[in-house]
Symmetry: C2
Subunit: 427 residues, 2 copies
């Protein structure tokens, strides 16, 4: 990690910048594959599954028996862990349910909102070395709570065509019964247009590599919504002299093992804490199976010494981190000043892993500075809020003249007439 | 309007389709103008203002005096009307404020969300023949309620460089003090990158023509969020024998006067109601200053006779209208079945104009079928919800093993270590 001491505020602009990723070439590829899927359905999906994932299976859909049997391959201890996480995620997301609240804005004019689940949602779970069954919980649990009628899941096959049983087990536990062994651009394309086997969905959720990210971006041009614009994962830790360098080092490393493009930042008002953390990192990193990845990430990462914890919070707001760990004493007094962050971890025992798996909060969060203008995934992400209004005769009498006057001033005479014609009837 | 009687369900797919608009050519233009604004700031903005809006003014920002003076040019009656609308919009959007709710998901694991306003928002108000000061209310009122620190407004100048005083008056009333006389692609570009005069914003709101729509889409590639994907405005009316053809005709016409691409649909289980409405339209349309526009819209519009009001609601859900008017008796019993709509107007006295101006609901709504997967603008649109978690020693002891087990099963050993290292300390 590079240590930077007391940078001037005008230097912050550079320090909070993320590396820029070139993506233009991928758009053409995505558009081509999408066009083929739109035209040829399953045939195109299979073609690209074979090309990208080297799989020869023609059974896109996982059969019910395989899903039910997945339990056998999951150790009891892991089953218990997933149950604990599921419960906490359910409890937290259930608090996000909004009650209907009817308000009479003017006598005779009642307004309210009603929640309706998005009917069809698609969850994408990446394959590869890490089978992200935790993401199945993070997206499946709120989708079920919201009441989505159709929840489908796409995930790429291993080379032998199989899916990690922990993904099947978790999906089954959550109540997702339509699972498709399709990954990458072809999975996003299939959920965007629908094929003979895979249904078209209204909104696509889930992480993925650059191909998936661009495919989700393109899907939006075809009427599909997505959870969040994506970017590499990141953590920012603010530490004072009460922080434990051992813990901080472990947290920085847990972010650093995610991938080569992860972002890791440490802020402190205490130089000794930074130095001790560096030493701890050198000890802990040696024991990691992903040591190489973590080392690369740390090379591009920064430890920044600032004048005070207040200044650290200010810097963090400029950076707008996905994860913010506040390893400082009296962290309560800084909460009100935290305005840009995805999820915040308070105190020495709130490690990022807790939120990644089991505290109950969602781990699908805005990265890449998007914490300035986006929230993470929540129950709201699976819901539309429809506004309702009910005007009585008295209601239209009370606000009718205001509407007529405004409509006329906007030169929208038919808008005015719709009121006038009613006012004439109510006299 | 074309009347279609008892279409088979399989024909619905075609009937609910919107016309497809070709937009590819505009992307290149937007990208070019954006690149120039990013490089040359105000100079590029002025160049395109002069080109598109034929204005020669070099003062992009409206001065405080002009804003304060705008009141003089607004008739008292219009001032009162705007005040009534503002009050109702405030009352309704204030009900959307969410209270903090701390939940202990497991003993020692506290989770909650905190709301933070998006710091910098930009409101775009189109110019042209209709000065949409009502949209200033619909976007400015919730932005202020949310607590956005910087709210700026861009609107194109008339040929003489001026802005409609009703827009200035309303902006001032709401508390927006930074107003820029810039429209179109160059306004969206300026808010995306920032110039010497116009600040960069985190999120852009507001309606506009095709240029503005594409520019907002492109802005998203540069880290800016937008309110909603846009499309032509639309209304769907469900009417039974208790509906008044006069009212329905007026509502259909009020939507039809919006523009050539507006969508207007009438559903009924009663043929006589449809016929009488057609006759009424022929009478009312003659008196409209925008008769030509309305006539064109109606040519592409449909009245559809169905078997029952339940079937009408089902059709409406497939269409997912921006505005849905339920001009039927006992409308309460259909509410639960309405699952895709932007805003719903219940009964004979709830005309769409009421929601457009003054009932209190927001008129920035999902069109073009986006009511399937998007909500309209609300207080939430100006807010991020940050999740917080606070684990005590007891908390990490209680869920630590679950986290370790899951992290290991996902092959994320550093994630596991961050917990192990803490559990070792708490023994």
């Amino acid at each position: 990690m590079n240590t930077i001491k007391y940078p001037a505020t005008k230097e912050w602009v550079k320090l909070v910048q993320r590396p820029i990723v070139e993506q233009d070439k991928l758009f053409a590829l995505v558009n081509q594959i999408f066009a083929e899927i739109q035209k040829n359905g399953n045939k195109a999906v299979l073609k690209y599954s074979s090309f990208f994932d080297k799989t020869k299976t023609k059974n896109i859909e996982v059969d019910a028996k395989q899903i039910a049997n997945s339990k056998r391959n999951i150790p009891k201890k892991l089953q218990t862990a997933i149950h604990i996480a599921k419960n906490n995620i359910e409890v937290f997301h259930a608090t996000q349910q909004e009650k209907k609240q009817v308000v009479e804005t003017t006598k005779g004019v009642k307004c309210w909102r009603e929640n309706r689940a998005i009917e069809k949602v698609g969850i994408y779970i990446p394959g590869g070395s890490a089978p992200l069954f935790s993401t199945v919980l993070m997206l499946g649990v709120p989708a079920k709570l919201a009441g989505c009628k159709e929840i489908i899941l796409c995930t790429p096959p291993a080379e032998n065509g199989s899916i990690n049983p922990a993904i099947l087990f978790t999906a089954n536990l959550v109540g997702i019964t339509k699972i498709f062994v399709v990954g990458g651009i072809q999975a996003i394309g299939a959920m965007t247009f629908g094929t003979e086997t895979i249904p078209r969905v209204d909104k696509i959720f889930g992480p993925g590599n650059q191909y998936v990210t661009i495919a989700k971006q393109v899907a939006q041009n075809f009427g599909v919504a997505i959870d969040l614009p994506a970017g590499p994962s990141e953590v920012l830790i603010i530490a004072d002299d009460c922080a434990k360098p051992k813990f901080i080092a472990a947290d920085l490393l847990s972010q650093a093992e995610h991938g080569n493009d992860s972002q890791v930042i440490l802020l402190s008002n205490n130089e000794a804490i930074i130095e001790q953390t560096m030493l701890e990192i050198n000890v802990q990193i040696k024991k990691l199976p992903r040591e190489n990845i973590a080392e690369k990430v740390l090379k591009n990462s920064k430890a920044i010494l600032l004048n005070s914890i207040d200044e650290c919070v200010e810097f963090s707001n400029s950076y707008a981190p996905e994860h913010l760990i506040m390893a400082v004493k009296n962290y309560e007094k800084y909460i009100d000043n935290i305005c840009n962050a995805g999820s915040v971890f308070l105190g020495n025992y709130s490690c990022e892993s807790a939120g990644d798996y089991a505290s109950g909060t969602n781990h699908t969060l805005p990265t890449n500075g998007y914490a300035r203008n986006y929230s993470g995934v929540s129950l709201d992400s699976f819901i539309k809020k429809i506004t309702f209004q009910e005007l009585s005769k008295e209601g239209i009498k009370n606000i009718g003249t205001a509407i007529e006057t405004m409509a006329e001033a906007e030169h929208l005479i038919a808008h005015k007439n719709a009121v006038t014609i009613r006012l004439n009837e109510t006299i």
